[in-house]
């Protein structure tokens, strides 16, 4: 309660001398159009937005502090809760960082599966962003057309990891378990269904005249300003800057697959939607190149000191029992040093900066969340526009509260 009073007092002071006819509109912290708990206090003159004040921190859990207490495999569950629309991307980003620090080389089979799941997650995230954007602008059916396919991807994740939302995919040194036998055929089926669905979605929503006129040129940002604000991912590419961590600083096998980077022109809400549509198609292209080539072999690296041995062997062999005990009690051993590893998550560059002193837990973890960097440009993007357009702008930015606050 104290917190709300303080905030109200704060805004009362900032907007003390409102000109005649100006109004304050409180959008959030719990509002259908904010998708997650974040608040915008908007000063309007008639229908025009004069000033905006973003208040964040409602979902702050201080994962960076928790990371200093958890061991490296335990922190994985925190990454689940950052961008909760595409959890495997966060998991993979974290695991890759730790593996790079420990210099573990995982088998190709693991990397292939990780890449396929990464791209499926990207599709999942973009479906939500574009679909919900339609819902916010009053077109419900587009989302429903695609949601069926998103559900199919969730079922794959469920079979693979046992969870739908908080997947905790992968472990340091490999995956928790091997892929199941129908993995490839099921993904091919999903792709087969998704392709016409995307075309249908495009015709249904994006070629719709009302949607077009409500998003074209709305909430735009120039390439220079986007770079100055630290934009990355689809929002930056919509402004016409072809940066993608998968191309610029390739990790896994992204330098070996063939895909294009879609770019927009004026960084408006429509361009962001279109860039995401095309990215889904490019993700499907990447999956198609990988799905038939998953090599046979083990699903983890040969690192008994950091990868949990299979349970049935733990109960009968002494070595496995010792390793099991050591890993559970003391965690994996990461040599002292620092590492920054960036991956292209659904919203942009997701970076993990880890400082290790050789202990069970990192000395310091820092997460570079793409949402946090680009959301600070929101007041500038909506200034001078209509109040209704702020909804379109915010939806197209794909701000995820869990990632914003971390």
């Amino acid at each position: 309660m104290v917190m709300y009073e303080k905030t109200a007092e704060h805004f009362g002071q900032k907007f003390k001398d409102l000109p005649e006819g100006h109004l304050l509109v409180n959008l959030g912290p719990s509002h259908p159009a904010t998708h997650g708990i974040l608040q915008n206090v908007i000063q309007i003159d008639g229908e025009r937005v004069v000033d905006t004040e973003s208040v964040i921190g409602y979902v702050h859990r201080c994962f960076e502090k928790l990371g200093e207490r958890y061991d490296y495999n335990q922190f994985l569950v925190c990454t689940d809760r950052m961008n909760y629309v595409s959890t495997p991307l966060n998991n993979i980003g974290w695991i890759l960082t730790v593996e790079k620090m420990m210099q573990i080389q995982v088998p190709d089979r693991v990397t292939y599966v990780r890449m396929i799941i990464s791209e499926l997650s990207r599709i999942m995230d973009h479906i939500i962003c574009n679909g919900i954007m339609g819902v916010d602008l009053g077109a419900f059916s587009g989302l429903l057309h695609l949601f069926h396919h998103r559900e199919n991807i969730y079922q794959i994740l469920e079979k693979l990891t046992g969870a739908r939302l908080t997947t905790t995919f992968c472990r340091v040194g490999g995956m928790e378990r091997d892929i199941y036998p129908e993995f490839q055929t099921e993904i091919k089926l999903i792709l087969k269904g998704l392709k016409p669905a995307l075309d249908e979605f495009e015709e249904l929503l994006i070629r719709n005249k009302i949607f077009n006129e409500r998003t074209k040129g709305i909430g735009g940002i120039s390439a220079d300003r986007a770079i100055a604000y630290g934009f990355s991912g689809p929002n930056l590419r919509a402004a016409g800057v072809p940066w993608d961590v998968r191309k610029d600083d390739p990790y896994m096998f992204y330098d070996k697959v063939n895909f294009d980077i879609p770019v927009g022109e004026d960084g408006s809400a429509l361009d962001r939607t279109l860039v995401r549509m095309e990215e889904m198609r490019q993700s499907m292209k990447i999956i198609e190149q990988l799905i038939d080539g998953i090599p046979e072999g083990p699903y983890h690296a040969d690192v008994p000191h950091s990868f949990l041995p299979p349970k049935d062997r733990v109960y009968h062999n002494m070595e496995e029992l010792i390793y099991h005990f050591k890993i559970i009690m003391h965690g994996v051993k990461v040599p002292p040093g620092e590492y920054y590893h960036a991956t292209e998550a659904a919203n942009g560059e997701l970076g993990f900066y880890v400082v290790s002193e050789g202990d069970k837990s990192p000395w310091r973890v820092h997460v570079r969340r793409p949402c946090f960097w680009y959301y600070q440009a929101f007041p500038e993007m909506v200034k001078g526009g209509l109040l209704a357009d702020t909804i379109a702008t915010m939806s197209s930015l794909n701000v995820i509260a869990g990632e914003l606050d971390c």
């Binding site: 905030t7 201080c62 502090k65 100055a228 610029d248 040599p335 040093g337 620092e338 970076g351």
Partner: protein
């Protein structure tokens, strides 16, 4: 490229660099005096060849009980011209000292600097609005500091002490 950049920085900014320890890292890093930070960053940003025009990351480390001075503010710059090469600048800061803000040079530094102030308690001078960003305005303390109790305010012990407290209670009572 790395050598060229190292040579440029070590010759151009002789009086700005601080002696630094060896770190096992994947980044090229330099320790910079905090007063000289805006000058160094601006030069690197406007340099025609290097052009570190993108502020990639901004964070801080608390070295309580390990190193002096206590804090380090970490800047990560990226140069799209140099094939998206990342350069790390480290600024050691003591308790109660402030760092010049970069929000004039990079608008992107606005929120991350407020976040560092909020969670680590390092103020930035020249910032347009040095207030808490994530925690509520009436919050006491800075959660990411090493001496802040993990379980929150109102508890004057750290989690390591928790075990010993309970053991003592068991013995005496």
């Amino acid at each position: 490229m790395k050598e060229k950049l190292t040579e440029f920085i070590t010759t151009r900014f002789v009086d700005c660099l601080l002696p630094q320890r060896d770190i096992n890292t994947n980044l090229l890093y330099f320790s910079i005096q905090k007063e000289k930070l805006p000058e160094v960053v601006r030069t690197l940003k406007d340099h025609p060849e290097f052009a570190f025009s993108f502020l990639n990351d901004l964070t801080s480390i608390d070295w309580l009980g390990k190193r002096e001075p206590r804090f380090e503010v970490i800047y990560l710059l990226r140069s799209p011209k140099l094939g998206h090469f990342r350069l790390q600048l480290r600024v050691p800061v003591g308790e109660g000292e402030s760092v010049p803000s970069l929000s004039e040079i990079f608008p992107a530094a606005n929120w991350p600097e407020r976040e560092v102030f909020d969670l680590m308690g390092i103020p930035f001078s020249g910032h347009p609005r040095m207030e808490r960003l994530i925690m509520p305005d009436n919050f006491v303390g800075h959660p990411l500091r090493k001496d802040y109790p993990l379980e929150g305010p109102g508890q004057d012990y750290l989690i390591e002490d928790l075990l010993t407290i309970h053991v003592k209670e068991d013995i005496t009572g």
